[in-house]
Symmetry: C2
Subunit: 211 residues, 2 copies
């Protein structure tokens, strides 16, 4: 195994002959994250390795370690990128309070309806449901961060609990519709789901005296 100085200027490239990319720099970091998502999605958490991610990204494994550290940390970084659409949720919540539930439902369903964002979310969810290490990462890096950011914008008692109740409904819909593909939810018009779920989210996130 060769060792490229992670800080060094792009040394001669090994492995992939493909053209555009360099093996260090911001571009390499992006490629590594994309490779990590592909590997975790395709192989599952167990069978994914730093070495496999490096190979997929066309870089040395040492560079993956340099940018991200352990496998858990690569997983966490891949999760964060995948959840970027979700991290705009607090901005959405900052709009008119009376339509907060509807905006949240629409954003969530939109992220899952788009195959490009759905695939990594599915991979993360599957990994977390079957591997404690992945569950821990999801709990620590994303759920809490996301929930607490939402909760900070809410004017209700127990805002984090309320945010998590809302999240639980959205996650349950995702599992029945996109993972288990259970009918009639799997084929329902997204607008019908949004219309049904929005008042629930609205109540959880905005009604001070609920329940």
């Amino acid at each position: 195994m060769t060792s490229e100085g992670p800080e060094g200027r792009a040394p001669r490239r090994r492995g992939r002959p493909s053209g555009a990319a360099t093996s260090t720099g911001p571009d390499a970091r992006t490629r590594i994250l994309a490779a990590a998502r592909t590997e975790f999605a395709g192989r599952g958490y167990d069978k994914t390795s730093i070495r496999g991610i490096a190979k997929e990204a066309g870089v040395d494994a040492a560079l993956v370690h340099h940018y991200f550290g352990t496998k858990d940390e690569v997983f966490a970084a891949a999760i964060e990128v995948s959840f970027e659409p979700a991290l705009v949720v607090p901005d959405i919540l900052a709009g008119p309070v009376e339509s907060m539930g509807e905006r949240l439902a629409r954003t969530f369903i939109g992220v899952w309806e788009d195959p490009a964002t759905r695939a990594p979310l599915l991979a993360i969810l599957r990994s977390a449901l079957t591997h404690e290490a992945a569950a821990k990462v999801l709990r620590g890096f994303v759920l809490r961060r996301l929930l607490e950011r939402i909760a900070a914008d809410l004017d209700v008692p127990d805002p984090t609990f309320r945010a998590e109740m809302a999240a639980s409904h959205m996650i349950g819909i995702a599992i029945l519709r996109y993972v288990l593909r259970a009918e009639p939810l799997a084929s329902a018009d997204p607008e019908k789901i949004i219309a049904m779920a929005a008042p629930t989210l609205q109540r959880y996130l905005t009604e001070r005296d609920a329940p």
Copy 2:
């Protein structure tokens, strides 16, 4: 391997020296189902075999085939037994309409709070989320059967869709609380969860003009 006639009277037993059980009859059927739940829960869907279930139950593999057929069919039967508590849901729904949501939330949370019923449900959920064969069984044998039984008792438009929206919320709560163990939901008082979710289920299941 010896072949015991599945219909035959209990021949001399092999393998397990433990006392009470016979290797055929209703008791053997019960033992096979218990063994199937143990195997699917402990090994996952992929690694569970008819032979392993038979060994765990102290019977011949031919008897497992005789009672249940294929591995998928054993899985389906194990699911049905595990979901028995859920199959009482329609009876619960038959009570006073104004407290339907609360009864449903309480029953569901109760089933998950009990470790004896939680373990097989967790195993089923994990299998279904990671293996299409298990997902298909869950879709076909249980979700539809359960949802359609509930829907038959509802006096709202799209009753099956409404029942599935309610189920999605309960499943999402189970995943965050019992599988991912994400706080604050994981440590919340069950009564607090029931109180928050009940009005949602009530609206889905009983309010004709919702949303």
